[in-house]
C-alpha cells in the first residue's frame, strides 16, 4: 500500500483585498500624518561618518587597488564617484540642432563640469568639518555640473564609427527601443507607454543630459539659468527639464512613498594616493575581520572601479574580492567614462498606500508593516530583518548597523575599527530568513540586492557584478508631512528622477530590472517586486506577490500601478577631457 505523504498545506486561493473607500481614506490620512515621525535618529554624540583624515586600513595580503592621481580624478565626472548627493538638482534634456555651435557650447561648459577631484575634496572637507564642529550638517555649499551624451549624439559630434565602438548594445539602441523589454507598457493607451513620455520616447530622444546640483536652491537656479542661456545661444533645443529636490524636513532622504531611500550603495574600490589607507571609499571594518576583504562597512560591498568606469579593473565574476579584466569594448577616449540610465518615474502615493492598507487588513497586520515588507525596510530605513516587529529609528540612524544583515544565514557582529563616538552595534542581529518569511523574496531590497543569497545565475560574486551606483532624487511636492492633503495636492505629479551609473547598461541596470525586479521566479520564486517591478505579457500588467503569513503564503494580485515610467534615456558620461577635446573638437 502506498504510504500517505506529509506535505506542506497548500496555500488557499489568492487574496482579493477590499476595503471601503472611506476606510481607505481614513487610514491613508493617518499614515500620512504619522509617518514623518518615523525618521532615523543618530546615535548620541555621533556625527556620521567620522574617521577624520583616516580613510581606512590596508588588509594584509589583499590585491592592490588602483590609485587615481590628480589627473585621473580631474577627468572622472563627480556624480559617478563619489556622487553629488545634493539636495537640489536640475536635469536638462537637450537636442542638437547645430553641430558646430554645440561643439562651441561644449568647449564653454567643459571647464564647468565637476570632477571626482572636486567632489571628493568637498566630501572630505565636509567630514573634517563635521568632526571639528561636532554637527551633522556643517555650513558648506557648492554648485556642480555633470554631462552625458546619447549614442546618437556621439555619432553626430564625433563619428558614427566611434558611436558604434561602444560595446554596450543597449546603449547603442537607446531606452525607447528597450522600453517594452524592461516591462513598460506595450499599449499606447497606457500612460507609461514610451509614446507618451515627456522625454526619451520615439522622436523625443535627448542627445545631451546636463545635471546641475547644488546645496542651495538659489545657487541651483542661477547656474541652470546660465547653462540654458548659453545652450539656447548654441541652438540646442531644450526638450524637457525636471527639477528634483530631496523631501523637506524630517523626510530628507526619503522617497515619496515615505521610505528612506539610498541606504545601501556599493563602495567603489580605489585609492587617492599610494599612502596606506588613502581609499576613495572609507573602510570601517577592522582588517582582523575577514569581511574587510569585500566590505567597506557592514553591508556595503566593495566593487572594483571597472564596474562603473570604463577601462578599469572589474569584478571577478567568480570571486567576491579579486579583480577581473577591464573592458576594452569602447573608443579609447571614453576610458574613465560611465554609462548613465535616466528614468523619470511617476509615483502614485495614494494608490500604493491604498493597496497596502487593504492588503494588510486582509492578512491581519498593520498597514505600515505590510508596506515595509514590500520594501524590506521600515519607513525610517531600518531593515525588517533586524527589527521584524516594529520600526526602530535608532537602528535606522546607525549606518554601521542599518545595512548589516544577510538573507541565508544568521548575521554575525562585525569587528569595526575605532570610530569616535560610536557606541557599537548593540541591536539584535538579523536571523537567517532563507525562505523569505520576514523579508519576502519579492521585497524590493531583496530583489535588487541579493547579498549572500544564491540566485538564478549562481553565487554572490555574480550578484556583485550587477550592482549600480544610484544617484536619483525625488521630484514634485510631497504628500507626507502635509496634514490632510487636499485632492488637488494628491493629484499633482510626483516621483523619482532615477539615475544610475554602470560599466554596462545591459548587464547591470537592465539585468536587475528585467531578470529580477520584473520576474516572479527570479532570483527566487515569490512574486514581482511590488515597488518598481513592471510586467507586460501581451498587454496584461497584473503583478502578484506571494505574501508570507502564519498559515503559509497567500497570493495577492496587484492590478494598480504606482510607479509609471514617464521619460528618460540611455547616456554616456565621458571623461571630462573628452568633452572639449573630442566631443567639442
Amino acid at each position: 500500500m502506498k504510504a500517505k505523504r506529509k506535505v506542506v498545506a497548500k496555500a488557499p486561493g489568492p487574496i482579493e483585498p477590499s476595503l471601503s473607500a472611506k476606510k481607505l481614506d481614513t487610514e491613508f490620512q493617518k499614515i500620512v500624518s504619522t509617518l514623518p515621525e518615523l525618521v532615523a535618529k543618530l546615535p548620541d554624540k555621533m556625527h556620521l561618518s567620522i574617521l577624520g583624515t583616516d580613510f581606512g586600513a590596508e588588509v594584509p595580503g589583499a590585491e592592490p587597488e588602483p590609485v587615481y592621481n590628480a589627473t585621473a580624478r580631474g577627468d572622472i565626472q563627480g556624480n559617478i564617484v563619489p556622487g553629488f548627493n545634493k539636495d537640489h538638482q536640475h536635469f536638462l534634456f537637450f537636442r542638437i540642432r547645430n553641430v558646430a555651435r554645440t561643439k562651441q557650447w561644449l568647449r564653454w561648459i567643459a571647464p564647468l563640469v565637476t570632477s571626482m577631484e572636486e567632489v571628493l575634496a568637498f566630501v572630505r572637507a565636509h567630514r573634517a568639518l563635521r568632526k571639528r564642529l561636532g554637527v551633522r550638517e556643517p555650513p558648506m555649499c557648492a554648485a556642480w555640473i555633470n554631462i552625458a551624451f546619447s549614442c546618437e549624439a556621439i555619432a553626430r559630434l564625433v563619428s558614427p564609427a566611434d558611436a558604434a565602438a561602444f560595446g554596450d548594445h543597449s546603449f547603442r539602441q537607446g531606452l525607447a527601443a528597450r522600453s517594452t523589454f524592461l516591462g513598460d507598457p506595450t499599449r499606447r493607451s497606457r500612460s507609461g507607454h514610451r509614446s507618451r513620455w515627456k522625454v526619451g520616447g520615439p522622436n523625443k530622444e535627448a542627445d545631451i543630459l546636463v545635471i546641475v546640483a547644488a546645496d542651495d536652491a538659489e545657487d541651483l537656479v542661477n547656474l541652470v539659468r546660465n547653462v540654458k542661456r548659453r545652450a539656447a545661444a548654441a541652438r540646442l533645443r531644450l526638450l524637457f527639464e525636471q527639477r528634483g529636490d530631496t523631501l523637506p524636513g524630517a523626510l530628507r532622504g526619503h522617497e515619496h512613498f515615505g521610505f528612506k531611500d539610498g541606504v545601501s550603495q556599493p563602495g567603489v574600490r580605489g585609492k587617492v594616493s599610494p599612502a596606506a589607507g588613502d581609499f576613495i571609499t572609507p573602510r570601517y571594518i577592522d582588517p582582523a575581520d575577514s569581511r574587510a576583504r569585500f566590505l567597506a562597512k557592514p553591508g556595503q560591498p566593495l566593487l572594483w572601479p571597472g564596474q562603473f568606469l570604463l577601462g578599469e579593473p572589474r569584478q571577478n565574476t567568480e570571486s567576491i574580492s579579486t579583480s577581473g579584466p577591464a573592458a576594452t569594448n569602447f573608443p579609447r577616449w571614453a576610458a574613465l567614462g560611465s554609462y548613465v540610465v535616466c528614468r523619470r518615474l511617476r509615483q502614485d502615493v495614494p494608490a500604493f498606500w491604498r493597496f497596502a492598507i487593504a492588503s494588510a487588513a486582509a492578512v491581519g497586520i498593520p498597514a505600515t508593516k505590510f508596506a515595509s515588507m514590500l520594501v524590506g525596510r521600515w519607513p525610517s530605513g531600518a531593515p525588517v530583518l533586524r527589527t521584524p516587529a516594529a520600526d526602530d529609528a535608532v537602528l535606522a540612524g546607525d549606518e554601521f548597523a542599518n545595512n548589516h544583515f544577510m538573507f541565508d544565514d544568521d548575521s554575525r557582529p562585525s569587528v569595526l575599527r575605532p570610530i569616535p563616538g560610536y557606541p557599537g552595534d548593540a541591536h539584535a542581529q538579523a536571523q537567517a530568513d532563507m525562505l523569505g518569511a520576514v523579508c519576502p523574496h519579492f521585497a524590493h531590497i531583496r530583489k535588487t540586492n541579493m547579498r549572500d543569497g544564491a540566485t538564478d545565475l549562481g553565487k554572490p560574486s555574480d550578484s556583485l557584478t550587477r550592482m549600480i551606483l544610484r544617484r536619483g532624487i525625488p521630484f514634485g511636492r510631497p504628500v507626507f508631512g502635509v496634514r490632510r492633503p487636499s485632492r488637488r495636492l494628491l493629484k499633482q505629479e510626483r516621483g523619482l528622477m532615477f539615475l544610475c551609473y554602470g560599466g554596462t547598461i545591459e548587464d547591470q541596470f537592465e539585468f536587475l530590472t528585467r531578470r529580477w525586479v520584473n520576474s516572479p521566479l527570479q532570483p527566487n520564486v515569490g512574486g514581482h517586486d511590488p515597488i518598481i517591478g513592471q510586467r507586460d505579457t501581451r498587454g496584461n500588467r497584473t503583478r502578484f506577490i506571494d505574501f508570507p503569513t502564519a498559515a503559509g503564503t497567500r497570493r495577492i494580485r496587484i492590478r494598480r500601478e504606482w510607479v509609471v515610467p514617464t521619460g528618460g534615456g540611455y547616456f554616456f558620461a565621458p571623461p571630462i577631457k573628452a568633452i572639449a577635446g573630442v566631443l567639442g573638437a
Binding site: K6, R178, S179, T180, L435, T455, L457
Partner: protein, 321 residues
C-alpha cells in the same frame, strides 16, 4: 515509516501503461541515487532518502537558474553576448549546454530560425523506457522529432543492441533528451546530496563553489544553507529537472507589436515543463528568426534559452519522531 513508497516519474509522465515494471524500475533508480548523507563541516543537517526516512516537512523551495550556460557567457564573453549565443548553439553535441537545459534549433532554407525546442529530459529516463519497451521509445521519437524514425536509428548496433543516446534524432537532426556529459539526473542527485558538505563555511560568502555554471552554486549554496540549519533535505517528488517558466516580455513581431503566445508545452505541465517548443503558427507571415527580443533579431537559439528558467524542487524539515 517511509514517506514515499514509490517515486513518481518526472512531471508524472505515463509513457507506459500504469502497472508497467518501468515504474518500479524508475523508483529503484531514484532510491539508489538518494542515499541518505549526513552533513559535514558546519552542516548539521542531512540529505535524506524519502523512501527510507520520515521527515516532517517544514518548507518547500524551488531552486531556479537560467537555462543558458553561464560559463559560456561569463567570464570570457561578458562583453560579447552574440558570440556566447553562437558558441552555445554551434558547439558539437551540445557540449557546452551544461545547465541541465539543452535546445535544438530548426532553420528554413533562408537560414532563419523556425523553431526552438528546449528540453530538460534526462537520458536515464529514456534508457529506462528503452529497457522495458523499445517500441514505445520509437513511437515517442516519431511523435516528438520525425515520423521517419525507425528503431535501428536509435541503437548502437544490430537488433538487441544498446540504446544510443547520441543517435541522429537526438543530436544532428533533433532533440529528445540531454546528451551533454554532466547533464544527467544522476549528476543532479549527486550535486544535491554532496551539497550538505559545507566545510568550515559559516555563510555563503565563505563558500567557494568552484563551478562557473549557474546551477551548481545555486544547489550547493541553497542546500548547504539549509543543512547549516540542521534540516533534513531532499528533492521534491516527482523528482525531475523542469522548465519553471519562460519570459517573452518585450519580444516583438516584425511590425513591432508584441508577439503572441507561441510557446507549446509538449511534455510536462506548467511549472513542470520537460519539453517546450517555440514556433510561430503557420500563416503568420513570419518565423521565429524574424522576431526581435528588445529590438534584437533572434539569430540563435541561445537568445531564447536565456529567457528560460529551470528548476529543481527541494523540501526540508525535521526527522519525525
Amino acid at each position: 515509516m517511509a514517506l514515499v513508497t514509490r517515486f513518481d516519474t518526472p512531471a508524472s509522465l505515463r509513457d507506459l501503461p500504469v502497472g508497467s515494471v518501468f515504474y518500479d524500475n524508475w523508483h529503484a533508480f531514484l532510491a539508489g541515487g538518494l542515499v541518505t548523507t549526513p552533513g559535514s563541516g558546519t552542516a548539521t543537517g542531512e540529505f535524506y532518502d524519502a523512501s527510507e526516512i520520515n521527515v516532517d516537512i517544514l518548507a518547500e523551495r524551488a531552486l531556479v537558474w537560467m537555462g543558458f550556460p553561464r560559463r559560456v557567457l561569463l567570464p570570457s564573453r561578458r562583453d560579447d553576448h552574440l558570440d556566447a549565443y553562437m558558441t552555445a548553439d554551434t558547439t558539437a553535441n551540445r557540449a557546452v549546454q551544461d545547465e541541465y537545459c539543452e535546445w535544438f534549433v530548426k532553420r528554413n532554407a533562408a537560414g532563419k530560425i523556425t523553431k526552438v525546442t528546449i528540453v530538460t529530459e534526462t537520458p536515464e529516463y529514456w534508457q529506462h523506457l528503452w529497457d522495458v519497451d523499445r517500441a514505445t521509445v520509437v513511437n515517442l521519437y516519431k511523435t516528438l522529432v520525425s515520423p521517419a524514425v525507425v528503431e535501428a536509428d536509435l541503437r548502437t548496433g544490430g537488433p538487441g543492441s544498446a540504446y544510443n543516446k547520441f543517435n541522429r534524432w537526438n543530436t544532428t537532426d533533433g532533440i529528445v533528451h540531454f546528451i551533454q556529459s554532466i547533464n544527467t539526473l544522476g549528476a543532479a542527485l549527486g550535486l544535491a546530496r554532496g551539497s550538505v558538505a559545507t566545510g568550515a563555511a559559516r555563510d555563503n560568502y565563505e563558500m567557494t563553489p568552484g563551478a562557473n555554471t549557474s546551477v551548481d552554486p545555486r544547489v550547493i549554496l541553497d542546500v548547504g544553507a539549509l543543512a547549516r540549519k540542521g534540516l533534513s533535505i531532499t528533492l521534491r517528488d516527482p523528482i525531475g529537472i523542469y522548465i519553471a517558466g519562460y519570459d517573452d516580455t518585450g519580444w516583438t513581431k516584425p511590425d513591432g507589436s508584441p508577439v503572441g503566445n507561441y510557446w507549446t508545452i509538449v511534455r510536462g505541465s506548467p511549472g513542470r515543463i520537460l519539453r517546450l517548443e517555440y514556433k510561430v503558427p503557420a500563416g503568420a507571415g513570419f518565423v521565429v528568426g524574424d522576431i526581435r527580443i528588445g529590438g534584437r533579431r533572434i539569430e540563435w537559439g541561445g537568445q531564447v534559452a536565456e529567457h528560460i528558467t529551470c528548476t529543481l524542487g527541494g523540501v526540508a524539515g525535521r526527522r519525525a519522531r
